[in-house]
C-alpha cells in the first residue's frame, strides 16, 4: 500500500496493464519521452520501450483512427486525447466508427480501445481545455463512458477499462489529478465499469453526482449534517451505462433527490438520471427532483470559472429547497 494521488494511481494502473498484456499500447501527443503534459504516462516509455509507449503526430482523428486499425490487427490500444475539448476533432472515430464496429461485424470483431482524456473545470486552463463534454458522448451506443472520482477507483477502473473488449471513454478529472490521495494497493485490482457507489450513507436525501462534484456533494452533506440532516451521496462512476438500481434503491429510502453535475444542464447525464427517476421511481418521491448543473453558456474563460462551476454551497442550497418542499 502506498498513498497515491489520482494521477499516480492512473499511472500505476497503466503500468499494471502494460506489464500484464504485451498487446497493450499507449500513444498520443507528448505521452512518450515527456510522459504526457500532466505526467500521467511518466516513466512508462522507459520501462516498456518506444514500441509500446509512443508519441504520435498532432491530430486527434488520426490518433483514434490509428487505434481502430491497431485493434483490427490484434492490438489493445490506450490512446490519449490530451484534453477532452480536443475530442471534437475525433467525433467520427468515436461515434461513427469504433463504437459501431462490434455491430458492423455482427458481433464477431471487437474494439478493445480505452480512450483516456482529461476534463473538468477549476484549474484556470486555456480555452477548450476544461470542458465537460460527456453530454455529447453518453448517447453513443457501443461506447462506455466512465469517470472515477477518487484515486482508488481511478486505478481499478483504468485496469477494467483496458481489459474490457468494447471502447471506453475514460475521463480523468484535471482538478482531482493532484488534489486527492488514497491508500492504493500494489499490483492488480479492478473496480467495475458499470456500477455506481454509495460513498456516504444517509436517510433524508440522496445526492447523485460524479467526478469532482462527488467531493462537492460530500462537503454539502457535511454542512447538512450540522443541522442533523442525513444526506446519502452516490458516485455514478459510469455515465454510460448508468447504474439506475443503486439510485432507485437510495431514493426508496430517502424519498428526496438532487442530481448534480458540473456540465451544462441541457440534456446529458443529469437529465438522463432525472428522467430515469421520474419514469421508474417517482412514486417513491415526496418532492420534485432537484438539479444542480452549470448554466447553459459555453464553458467560461478563467476569470469567471469559479463563479460558474456548481459547488458545495449550490448543492446544499438546492438540497434544503427540496427538503423544505
Amino acid at each position: 500500500m502506498a498513498k497515491l494521488t489520482y494521477i499516480k494511481a492512473i499511472t500505476d494502473g497503466l503500468d499494471v496493464v502494460l506489464g500484464e498484456d504485451p498487446k497493450t499500447l499507449i500513444f498520443g501527443e507528448d505521452v512518450g519521452k515527456n510522459g504526457g503534459v500532466f505526467r500521467t504516462t511518466e516513466g512508462l516509455q522507459d520501462k516498456y520501450g518506444e514500441d509500446r509507449v509512443f508519441d504520435t503526430p498532432l491530430a486527434e482523428s488520426g490518433i483514434l483512427g490509428l487505434s481502430i486499425g491497431l485493434a483490427a490487427t490484434g492490438w489493445r490500444p490506450i490512446p490519449e486525447i490530451q484534453f477532452m475539448g480536443f475530442t471534437f476533432e475525433a467525433v467520427d472515430s468515436l461515434g461513427g466508427q469504433m463504437s459501431r464496429n462490434r455491430f458492423r461485424f455482427s458481433g464477431k470483431r471487437a474494439m478493445p480501445i480505452t480512450v483516456r482524456t482529461p476534463f473538468g473545470g477549476g484549474t484556470h486552463t486555456a480555452e477548450m481545455h476544461a470542458d465537460n463534454l460527456e453530454n455529447y458522448f453518453v448517447g453513443t451506443p457501443g461506447l462506455r463512458v466512465v469517470t472515477p472520482a477518487n484515486p482508488y477507483d481511478a486505478k481499478g477502473m483504468i485496469i477494467s477499462a483496458v481489459e474490457n473488449n468494447d471502447p471506453v471513454l475514460f475521463m480523468e478529472n484535471l482538478k482531482l489529478y493532484r488534489s486527492m490521495k488514497d491508500e492504493i494497493p500494489e499490483g492488480k485490482y479492478t473496480v467495475p465499469l458499470d456500477t455506481a457507489k454509495v460513498v456516504r450513507e444517509g436517510t433524508d436525501i440522496t445526492l447523485v453526482a460524479y467526478s469532482a462534484e462527488v467531493n462537492e456533494s460530500l462537503k454539502a452533506a457535511d454542512a447538512l449534517a450540522k443541522d442533523n440532516i442525513s444526506a446519502e451521496v452516490i458516485d455514478l462512476r459510469s455515465l454510460s451505462p448508468i447504474d439506475t438500481d443503486t439510485i432507485f434503491k437510495s431514493v426508496e429510502k430517502t424519498h428526496k433527490v438532487v442530481v448534480v453535475q458540473e456540465a451544462q444542464k441541457m440534456a446529458g447525464v443529469g437529465a438522463q438520471v432525472t428522467a430515469e427517476i421520474a419514469e421508474n421511481a417517482i412514486m417513491n418521491l415526496d418532492a420534485p427532483i432537484g438539479r444542480v448543473a452549470a448554466p447553459d453558456s459555453v464553458y467560461p474563460w478563467a476569470q469567471v470559472e469559479n463563479d460558474w462551476l456548481p459547488n458545495a454551497d449550490d448543492i446544499e442550497e438546492k438540497a434544503r429547497e427540496i427538503l423544505n418542499y
Binding site: 491530430a59 491497431l70 490487427t73 490484434g74 467520427d92 461513427g96 466508427q97 458492423r104 438500481d245
Partner: protein, 371 residues
Amino acid sequence: MAKKTGQVIDFASIKATMSDPYKKTFQIVDKDAKIVNQELFDTFSDDQLVDFMKKMVWERTLHEQTMNFSRQGRLGFYAPTFGEEASEMGSVSAFKDQDFLFPAYRDLPQLIQHGASVTQGFLWSKGNAVGDDYGEQRNWFPQIIIGAQYVEAAGAALGIKKNGEKDAVSFVYTGDGGTSQGDFYEGVNFASSFQAPAVFMVQNNGWAISVPRYKQTAAETLAQKAVASGVPSIQVDGMDVLAVYIATQEAREFAAAGNGPVLVETLTYRYGAHSSAGDDPSRYRTKEEEKPWFDADPLIRMRKILGDKGLWSQDEEDKLVEEYKDSFKASMKEAENTPTQSVVDMLKTTFEEPTPQIKADIARFEAKESK
C-alpha cells in the same frame, strides 16, 4: 533601395512547375489499344492477360446484375462500379491474402476478390450485418465516411509492422472527393510518420456525386497530395488494367519492404450514377464530357489486345457473362434466404456484455418478435 514585393521568391514559377513530376501518367496500353510500353507488356503471360479480362468482365457483369436487382427492389444502397473495372481489378490483383483491405462503398468488387462472397456483398447492401462477418479474412466493412478508412488503414499498417509481419501491407481506397477529407491527410501523414506499410489508393473517377474533380482542389493531380507528407506517389491510367496492376504491385513491394507508405492515383471515370438511389448525372454533366471516357473503356482495349492474340472472342465473352449472371442470381437467392436481422440481434452486438438498459430492450423486442 527598398525591395520590391514579388521579385525575390518566384512563387509563380514554383506554382507552374510543382505538379510536373506527377503528371507523367503511367501507362502500358493506351486507349486505342496501342502498346506504349512493350517491355512491360511482355512480362505478362497469356494466362495473366486473359485472367485480367475475365475479372473485368466479372465486375461489369456484377455491376449490370446489381443494377437489375436494384430496379427489382432486391438491393439497398449500392454504388455502381461501371467504368472502374481496370482500376479495381488491376489493383486488387496485386494483393496477397495477408494484406488488409479497407474499402469504401464503391469497392465491393475488391472486397469480394479479396475473399468475401458475393452473397455477403448483397447482404451488406440489403442492410444485414451478417454480410460483414469476414471471419479470419483481412477485410474491413465498406466505409461510408470516406476518409475514415485512411486513418484506420494507417493504424492497421502500424499494427502489421508491430506484428513483425514481413510481407503484408494495408490497402485502402478512396475517391477524388475523399482526398479533400481531413482524415485523408491524417492517414497518409500518420503512416508516413511511422513508416508503416500502407498503400493508399485514390480512384479518381472525376465526380463526387455532382461535384467535379476540379472543384475538389486546384492541385493538378491528386497523386501530389502525398508529397507533403514525404510519401512517394504515382498517377496511373486507371482504364489500363495492366498499368494499374504493375503500379499497385510495385507500390506494395516498396511498402512491404519497409520503405514506408505509397499513394497511387488511378485516373478513371464513373460512367453511371453515384448510387442506385436516384442520382441522375444528366443534371450536372454532359454527354460530350462522358464520351471520351466511354471511348477509353478498359474492356474495349483488352478485348482488342486479346483478340489480336487469338485469346478472346465475343462468343466466349457472352458465355462467360451468362455464367457470371447465373452465379450472381444464385448469390442473390442465398442472400434472400438468409434470415433477416432482428432488433434483438442488433442489441446483442452493441456491447460484448449487454448493459442493463440493453437487456431490458432485448426483453421488450424478444416479446414483440415472438408475437
